[in-house]
């Protein structure tokens, strides 16, 4: 893992969480949001958002609809579905458990 790469498998968690916080977003907005929220630490290979989004679409965790951006461009907007919300909760609790455990191990005694 190069510095500032995101841990494998967590990209979908980041996307789901971002969508749950902001509602509807298109791909570029999701990328920007992740980048800014992490204080420019998490460097996503931006294009890899798209295969990840397709995976979420297949699972039915997000839905997509074409809309228009502020700059009057056509863009595909993604939003969380009910199943996506449930999945996010599961993944979050899983993440917190693991993260908590790792933190506990790393804590100086």
């Amino acid at each position: 893992m190069k510095p500032n790469d995101i841990p494998p498998g967590s990209l979908s968690l980041l996307i789901l969480n971002t969508l749950s916080r902001h509602g509807e977003m298109h791909g570029y907005e999701i990328a920007e949001s992740i980048l800014h929220t992490s204080g420019d630490v998490l460097q996503v290979e931006e294009g890899s958002l798209y295969p990840a989004l397709q995976r979420l679409l297949v699972q039915g965790w997000v839905s997509a609809e074409w809309g228009t951006t502020a700059g009057n461009r056509r863009a595909r907007y993604y939003r969380l579905t009910a199943a996506g919300r449930k999945q996010l909760a599961t993944e979050l609790s899983h993440f917190h458990r693991i993260y908590g455990a790792i933190t506990a191990v790393l804590q100086p005694a």
Partner: protein
């Protein structure tokens, strides 16, 4: 489920999907670019930076598509399309491959469908594997011999049924069921029907349920003559009664007895004999009421029934056999009328009843056709192998030509496995297309084969089901995929194994072409050797058939008409004076028809079965191992058949029921069985063992030997007795005639009906046809093996031609140089030919060795020649060379005509 719908939706809107993805990615790049410009980068730098941060667009698009999980289908579709395109690019090759596959797979499927129907398919009854038959089930007729272990009397069956503890149920089937004429309802014509006599337990033993009404019970078969009932077959219900639901109120009348239909057997049920489909079943207790008036229901030693049993669960075969053999001795010795003299006892002691499993039923067809069918199955499998070798060779040649394409693709990052998969997909497409064609071909071939096996265009079709069914389609599918793998895998492995740099650098003339061709050459040698084996076999079978058709029968086989009539419907016994009078009137009247040179009856004409016993010739030792065939004939028979009288006299009006009993013997009987140099005429002999006056006959004549049952048989001992002294309800009239068959046949039938209009005539044929039909299986083997051998040789020739053309094209360059350096055309041609001649000769040598090693397999199917006979080998060699060498010569000649300039310029 929803997910599947979403994924399917994506599959069907592929172009929309791609466009959407494209647009959204473009938007992303543009927005990032704008943002970078806003951050102060130059437009060019911004463009580069946006792309750098985005990543590899093509790969990302591929991954996005892959997320939907259709990539396997995608690459399969690609391979398929690509395969179809490359097949269409070389239509000639594709056509040859398809045709040879279709013929190969079709022939295998067709032959297998017969093997399946005759030998492999279980009876359509409950748990057929529990069923056994007493003895081997291979006899039919009636015997009073002690120690009979296949044919049993009805009283024996009754006792066995009540006394055994190993069978859950036992049934018996009359072994000598004959077609006879009966009347359906009160229709005003007679129909030729096939009734089977069975015990009341028949259906319950087999465990079948009626389609309609009820089946027999024990009560239907307890009192002789009491229950005129019948169960009809499903097919008979459909054809004779048009499937009417009120069929249970209908009747079938035989002789004087009207049988009420009480039920319909389930569809497809035919009993236990494969290839015999009775129209209806009648309880044993009614046997006397059928036209043949069988009189064995209460006779302890009228042994004419087969007995089948269903083993109780848990009873082993060995245990059952032991128990049945104990019972067998007890029951037969316990019959009050058993003649337990030393002779009979010794036969009884030697008798051992084997129990034969009949899960696949019994069938006389098996004896005749199982060997030929197995042989043909082997032959067709070999033909298919040749076809595979051919296609492998063609694909190999093509894959070598495509080596560059594959090298390029591998250089561009295609995985090896992916390339193999693509080539195998192509093979599979070819095989599946060939397989479907093959199945269509098999359907047609099955019908032709059934015709051939049944004995020709004028014979009744044997009722076996050879239509396409699930196991059969499974078989074809396995064969198809098997062939695809066989002919596809080698080229695929080879093609994917190219050395990338080498192949890219190489031009048309590859330096290592020689090593690549080794496999192709091995395939050619294999093809030639298999073709040779098949060619030898077909020559053997053809010559064997020719030998058979030239066998001396003892009578001129042309110009004899055989008229089958059913005199049993008259309800008279064979020795009834009215019956005798009728036959002699028919004989006289038919003989007087213009164009008819003689007419005569016989109990057995050629290939009609036999009645045989031992005879007792005073002055010689009695030998019961020598069976004499007896034929009851009318006065005009010898004259009609033109069987020459060698000594004494023929039968005439002086031989009557009251005159002294006379007999005419065949010449070898006199030569082998009578004391040497004794004049047989006037001697007295006994038919059977006992020298009692009832059996005493006087020899009045000697006639020439004739073939009796088949052409292959060795010399038969035959004697003839006159009808007047031993009445026989004849079935066949022989008529020697000249002129038009149809006209004479009509006149003969009219003459018969003018004597008695109630005698149905079931068939008119010729002796010639009967003889031909008796060698149906030899003809079948000869014709089909010749067809397949020709096909094999032809396919090999295509293979040789293909390989040669390929070799020539690979060596055009070399040939050009040689010729530029002064080589003669002929020597160039020979250089090419030499190679192929070597291959063909080694193929023939290998084939010769194979032939010698396997000749025992065909020995039993040959007549009058040995499998190792040199003439057949020679003929096969000539035939093979005559086809293979021209196939090689054409490309060689093309090579020798290459213009050196052109060849060199090409590079």
């Amino acid at each position: 489920m929803r997910q599947l719908l979403r994924r399917l939706g994506m599959l069907f809107h592929r172009s929309r999907f791609n466009a959407d993805l494209e647009e959204e990615m473009r938007l992303h790049l543009e927005l990032r670019e704008q943002q970078q410009v806003a951050a102060g980068l130059s437009p060019e730098q911004a463009h580069r930076e946006a792309r750098r941060r985005f990543g590899n667009g093509t790969a990302l698009r591929e991954r996005s598509v892959a997320a939907w999980g259709w990539s396997w289908l995608e690459s399969f579709a690609q391979d398929t399309l690509y395969g179809l395109r490359s097949m269409l690019r070389s239509p000639g090759l594709t056509l040859v491959a398809l045709l040879s596959l279709a013929l190969g797979i079709g022939a295998n499927t067709a032959i297998f469908s017969f093997l399946d129907a005759l030998m492999l398919r279980p009876l359509p009854v409950k748990a057929p594997s529990q069923l056994v038959i007493l003895g081997d089930g291979d006899e039919g007729g009636n015997t009073d011999r002690y120690g009979s272990t296949t044919l049993y009397s009805y009283p024996f069956f009754s006792q066995l049924r009540s006394r055994n503890i190993v069978f859950s149920e036992v049934a018996t089937v009359f072994s000598d069921n004959e077609k006879t004429h009966g009347i359906i309802d009160s229709r005003n014509q007679m129909d030729f029907l096939a009734p089977d006599l069975v015990s009341g337990t028949f259906f319950s033993t087999l465990g079948v349920e009626p389609a309609l009404g009820r089946l027999f019970t024990v009560a239907d078969d307890t009192t002789e003559g009491a229950h005129p009932v019948t169960v009809i077959s499903y097919a008979f219900w459909q054809t004779a009664f048009a499937g009417t639901p009120d069929v249970l109120s209908h009747t079938v009348k035989f002789a004087d007895t009207t049988f009420t239909i009480i039920g319909v057997a389930p569809p497809g049920f035919f009993g236990i004999t494969v290839g015999h489909a009775p129209d209806l079943w009648i309880p044993m207790a009614m046997m006397k009421s059928l036209p043949a008036h069988h009189n064995g229901y209460k006779d302890n030693f009228s042994q004419s029934n087969l007995i089948i049993g269903r083993l109780k669960p848990g009873v082993t075969h060995a245990l059952a056999e032991t128990e049945i053999n104990v019972l067998y001795q007890q029951i037969i010795r316990g019959f009050p009328d058993a003649k337990l003299n030393d002779y009979n006892l010794s036969h009884l002691q030697r008798a051992h009843v084997t129990l034969t499993p009949i899960a696949t039923g019994i069938s006389w067809l098996r004896h005749e056709f199982s060997d030929p069918l197995k042989l043909l199955m082997g032959v067709t499998a070999l033909v298919l192998l040749i076809a595979c070798a051919n296609i492998a060779n063609l694909l190999l040649a093509r894959s070598t030509a495509r080596a560059r394409e594959f090298a390029v693709r591998q250089a561009l990052g295609a995985q090896r496995l992916r390339l193999i998969r693509q080539l195998l997909t192509e093979s599979l497409i070819l095989a599946l297309a060939g397989g479907s064609l093959g199945i269509a071909f098999a359907v047609v071939a099955d019908r032709m084969l059934l015709r051939m096996i049944s004995g020709g265009p004028d014979a009744d079709l044997i009722p076996i089901d050879v239509s396409l069914n699930l196991p059969l389609l499974g078989f074809s599918l396995v064969v198809t995929i098997g062939t695809a793998v066989i002919f596809g895998i080698v080229p695929a492995l080879r093609a994917s194994h190219v050395e990338v740099t080498g192949a890219l650098k190489d031009g048309r003339s590859s330096a290592n072409a020689a090593t690549r061709n080794v496999l192709g050459k091995v395939l050619i040698v294999a093809q030639v050797s298999i073709s040779f084996v098949l060619a030898v076999a077909s020559v053997l079978f053809l010559r064997s058939l020719v030998n058979l058709t030239h066998v001396e029968t003892g009578f001129p086989r042309n110009g004899v008409m055989l008229v089958d009539m059913d005199s049993s419907v008259l309800g008279l016994k064979g020795d009834d004076p009215r019956m005798l009078a009728m036959f002699s009137q028919i004989e006289d009247r038919v003989a007087a028809i213009p164009g008819v040179h003689g007419a005569g009856f016989a109990s057995f004409t050629f290939h009609q079965g036999s009645w045989n016993t031992a005879i007792n010739i005073p002055g010689t030792a009695y030998n019961d191992a020598i069976n004499i065939k007896h034929n009851v004939v009318s006065n005009g028979y010898f004259n009609t058949m033109q069987i020459p009288l060698l000594a004494g006299r023929s039968f005439g009006p002086q031989d009557t029921a009251t005159s002294h009993k006379v007999i005419i013997l065949s010449e070898s009987m006199v030569r082998d069985l009578f004391p040497a140099d004794a004049n047989p005429i006037g001697r007295h002999i006994y038919i059977g063992k006992d020298p009692n006056p009832k059996n005493d006959v006087e020899v009045v004549g000697v006639v020439k030997d004739v073939k009796f049952d088949n052409l292959q048989e060795h010399r038969q001992y035959i004697d003839y007795v006159p009808d007047a002294q031993r009445g026989w309800g004849y079935g066949t009239l022989a008529v020697r005639y000249t002129g038009d068959f149809n006209i004479v046949s009509k006149d003969v039938q009219n003459a018969i009906h003018s004597i008695d209009r109630n005698v149905p005539i079931s068939r008119v044929t010729t002796l010639d046809r009967v003889i031909e039909r008796s060698i149906t299986n030899q003809a079948l083997v000869a014709q089909l093996s010749t067809f397949f051998a020709l096909l094999a040789v032809f396919l090999s020739a295509i293979g040789i031609y293909g390989l040669m053309s390929y070799l020539v094209s690979r060596r055009t360059n070399e040939i050009g140089i040689r010729m530029a350096l002064g080589a003669a055309r002929s020597s160039v041609g020979w250089m090419i030919m030499r190679e192929i001649v070597l291959l063909v000769v080694s193929g023939i040598a290998l084939g010769g060795a194979l032939t010698l090693a396997t000749n025992q397999l065909v020995q039993s199917l040959l007549y009058g020649l040995k499998p190792t006979e040199p003439l057949s080998l020679l003929l096969a060699i000539v035939a093979l060379l005559a086809i293979a060498l021209p196939a090689a010569w054409l490309p060689a000649r093309r090579a020798s005509r290459v213009s050196p300039m052109e060849a060199l310029r090409y590079e």
